[in-house]
Amino acid sequence: MADLNFDPIIGEEVCVLGRMEFFKIINVQPSCRIAPPNLQNIAAGALGLGTVDLQILGNNTILEGVPWALLQYNDETRPVRRTIEWLKTNPDGRRYPDYIVDYEVETGNDHAGNPSIFVRFLVDPDYFYENGRASQEKIAQLNEFTDEVQQTLLSLGLNRWTYVRAGEARRELDVAS
């Protein structure tokens, strides 16, 4: 996981410590240091590494050279989304399955009231069905993948519980329409 980073990226919406406004990142001066997720708001900026240029949402005011240490990310799913995007690059010899057509990440409480993050990988059902039956071997591969994602997310030390599961993409869309 050495190349997994949580550096700010252009387009992200953030707050800045001590300011009331919401901002969009319009430029990133890269850091030479990879911040672990639990230090993502501290490490780089605290060491004087990495700044961003920000634009206030709703007007054209620009704030230049804001240290990463001052950024606050409102989206609690951010580390999860970034991790999944990282997994999509097939890092460390891992393989992001081709049959996953999309994913969803949502925050909420689980049934016991624990603040949680729910990850749902939407899969192409055609991959799984052979002669009208789901291939148990392929289901096992899918479960292995979601287990691996679960362990990766646990290693981030998030404050929310994580639930990782899969669902059929096409049928979900059929239901939605």
């Binding site: 016991a112 287990d147 362990q151």
Partner: protein, 182 residues
């Protein structure tokens, strides 16, 4: 064998029967199966692993004489407490279980199998709740297949993990953990 031998003609434990029932429901033809079948498959998969653990906890903390004492002990288990413990043991390689008192030490780091057991329990309990109560949610056959296979993996991993040095802590926390900080 996990738990009572049933009198309905099967020599399987209740946990094993529930797992077989979940598999039966998940194996129904996906083209004609119903929401009820899928939901019951997920629910049975959860209760299979619940009853496996419940029987193991009771076997650890309660004698089996007089008859019925051990089975009665299983009734003391609380799903939410079990969920908390599952969360505490869900990270493979961890050297201590989160939220347990500091003086409760783990003899070994959490194995892949125990972490898998813990995560599957957590996932299945949440899925069971959705399957039983969330009438807005539309389930599909792959939901049943993935969850039943998770339960099957749970049984397999339990066979490996059962004799490990961490298991007594894991099982004791399931029933007593909520009172350990009194």
């Amino acid at each position: 064998m996990y738990g009572l031998v049933r009198r309905g003609g099967s020599s399987m434990s209740l946990a094993e029967e529930l797992l077989a029932h979940a598999r039966f429901l998940a194996n129904l033809d996906p083209r004609t199966t119903s929401q009820a079948n899928i939901r019951r498959a997920i629910s049975a998969a959860y209760y299979a692993v619940f009853h496996l653990l419940a029987a193991e906890v009771a076997a650890q903390v309660s004698p089996d004489i007089p008859a019925g004492l051990r089975e009665r002990t299983q009734r003391a288990l609380d799903h939410r407490q079990m969920l908390k413990v599952a969360k505490a043991f869900s990270q493979a390689g961890a050297t201590r279980a989160k939220d347990l008192p500091d003086d409760i030490m783990l003899p070994d780091s959490v194995s892949q199998e125990l972490a898998s057991i813990a995560n599957i329990f957590k996932e299945l309990q949440e899925a069971r709740h959705l399957a039983d109560y969330d009438v807005l949610k539309q389930f599909n056959p792959i939901d049943a297949d993935t969850m039943v296979q998770k339960a099957e993996k749970f049984f397999k991993d339990w066979k490996t993990e059962k004799g490990s040095s961490n298991t007594p802590v894991f099982l004791a926390a399931m029933i007593f953990g909520k009172d350990w900080n009194k």
